[in-house]
């Protein structure tokens, strides 16, 4: 009895496949444009051979793809960009196109490989792709492959500032946003004082080479840099270094050039003096600085003893 039931079920399956082949094996609805081919499998499929190009091309003449419509011009609008089909080296339709994915399928663009195109078409990206409308891309040439490759728009994308045309390359803010950190918000001068177009990090700026920001000098930038030019510095921005007090102290040692404190006090320690400001001092003053430095060193040694 059981065997009979099993055999009947198997016969039923085979019968269903025979009498209702479309319902049994149709893997999905055809696109809206191919609806007239419903249940006409052999319009596209050749038994044991699959889908041949010839069947596609018999309706979709390659030289006419993008030019006109097979049905009427309302359903498939003319699109010059799709004419790249003429330049395909291997015209295997199913490499990119499929069906049975519903009436309005989303074309999986990942199936498209640029290597199927002639080199002249690959080099001329804008013949198929729209140029992005953002500010940056309006400033660069159409040589997309200088930054992008055909593996993906963003994968491996590099940028060369030399590609910028008719742009003031010193005006970084034209393309870049100023970093939101408190340090950069205070800076109004141009980025290229510290950064290059090669890379943002590391910047070329090392504050220690001008003045060491030790624990006694953890002030905000505009305490010392009161103007927009960071090359101009004053030490009189804080309570410790009042101008009158500094003048009086340095005049005792015969030093009158006191506007460039960091020339001598680079380390931030008032007793650690270096005379690297030779160019800006006259010989007499330089000598006095050296004497003062020696006296200072002696005083430190005495203190150590």
């Amino acid at each position: 009895m059981r065997k009979t039931i099993v055999i009947l079920i198997i016969i039923a399956c085979i019968a269903l496949s025979y009498f209702f082949p479309h319902a049994m094996i149709n893997p999905g609805e055809l696109t809206a444009e191919h609806q007239m081919l419903n249940n006409k499998c052999q319009s596209c499929h050749t038994l044991l051979k699959g889908i041949s190009n010839e069947k596609c091309i018999s309706c979709h003449a390659i030289e006419k793809i993008g030019m006109d419509s097979l049905i009427n011009s309302d359903t498939i609008p003319s699109n010059q960009k799709t004419r790249f089909h003429m330049h395909l080296l291997q015209q295997t339709c199913t490499s990119c196109h499929t069906d049975h994915q519903g009436k309005h399928p989303v074309i999986d663009k990942n199936r498209f490989n640029h290597e199927m195109l002639e080199q002249t078409v690959i080099s001329n990206c804008v013949s198929c792709h729209n140029k992005p409308v953002d500010n940056l891309h309006q400033l660069v040439t159409n040589k997309c492959n200088s930054c992008h490759n055909t593996n993906g728009w963003k994968s491996g994308a590099t940028f060369n500032h030399d590609l910028l045309v008719e742009v003031n390359k010193n005006d970084c803010n034209n393309c870049h946003l100023k970093p939101a950190d408190s340090y950069h918000q205070l800076i109004t001068s141009n980025c290229n004082q510290c950064h290059s177009t090669k890379q943002w990090v590391p910047s070329t700026f090392d504050h220690s080479s001008y003045f060491v920001l030790d624990r006694n000098h953890q002030a905000t930038c505009n305490t010392c840099h009161t103007g927009k030019d960071f090359k101009v510095v004053t030490c009189y921005g804080c309570h410790e270094h009042s101008e009158s007090k500094i003048i009086a102290e340095h005049n005792e040692e015969g030093i009158y050039q006191i506007s460039r404190c960091a020339s001598c006090h680079k380390s931030g320690n008032e007793h650690d003096i270096i005379s690297n400001g030779k160019q800006s001092m006259d010989a007499e003053e330089s000598k006095r600085v050296k004497n003062f430095q020696k006296a200072n060193d002696r005083r430190k040694e005495d203190g150590d003893d």
Partner: protein
């Protein structure tokens, strides 16, 4: 008090079954996420070979082939069929189109379910039921009272005993449906 058979054996069985479906959904998600859906097509072929390979045990059991340890071949049958089923589930995806492949997948799920019943439940549950009945009788309960107390466990075991009734004919049906599916693919695809 001992846990009922349902909790002791049936729930772990469901976990194995759920793991199979969960893995299939996970792999399918990853394939879609990384745009590798085409791999699903090939998983159908590989999964079929896994399942077909697992039938070596069936041939040995029916003495069509003479070599090989039946116990080891049974283990091979269980693992190959379980892994192959995961691949076939990924291959099927969640697309409700043609009836034929979906009937095959339905049969696959029933076959695996009945197979897992045989593997995980029947022997242990049967032994456990006998031990409990013996313990109750030894404790001085009458046979009627012992049967009354083990009523639901007995029903559970009786249900499980039907697994072979389902496993073999449904497997045969699955084979026929899979064969028709494969023939249709060979006929209409490259």
């Amino acid at each position: 008090m001992e846990k009922p058979l349902l909790i002791k054996y049936v729930l772990p069985f469901i976990q194995w079954y759920a793991l199979m479906i969960g893995l299939a959904i996970g792999i399918d998600f990853l394939l879609h996420f990384f745009h590798l859906v085409f791999i699903g097509r090939y998983l159908g072929i590989i999964g079929t070979f896994f399942v077909v390979g697992s039938f070596v045990y069936s041939l040995r059991k029916r003495k069509i082939i003479q070599s090989g340890s039946p116990k080891k071949l049974l283990q091979l049958h269980e693992y190959l069929a379980w892994i192959g089923s995961i691949m076939l589930l990924v291959h099927a995806g969640i697309h409700f189109n043609a009836w034929l492949p979906w009937m095959a997948i339905l049969m696959l799920l029933i076959t695996v379910g009945s197979g897992l019943v045989g593997k995980f439940l029947l022997k242990k549950a049967n032994e456990s039921l006998k031990e409990r009945r013996l313990a109750l009788l030894n404790a001085g309960e009458t046979k009627e009272l012992a049967d009354k107390q083990l009523f639901f466990d007995s029903i559970t075991v009786d249900m499980m005993k039907k697994w072979r009734v389902v496993h073999l004919p449904i497997t045969l049906l699955l084979s026929v449906l899979a064969l028709l599916h494969i023939i249709s693919i060979i006929l209409f695809s490259k």
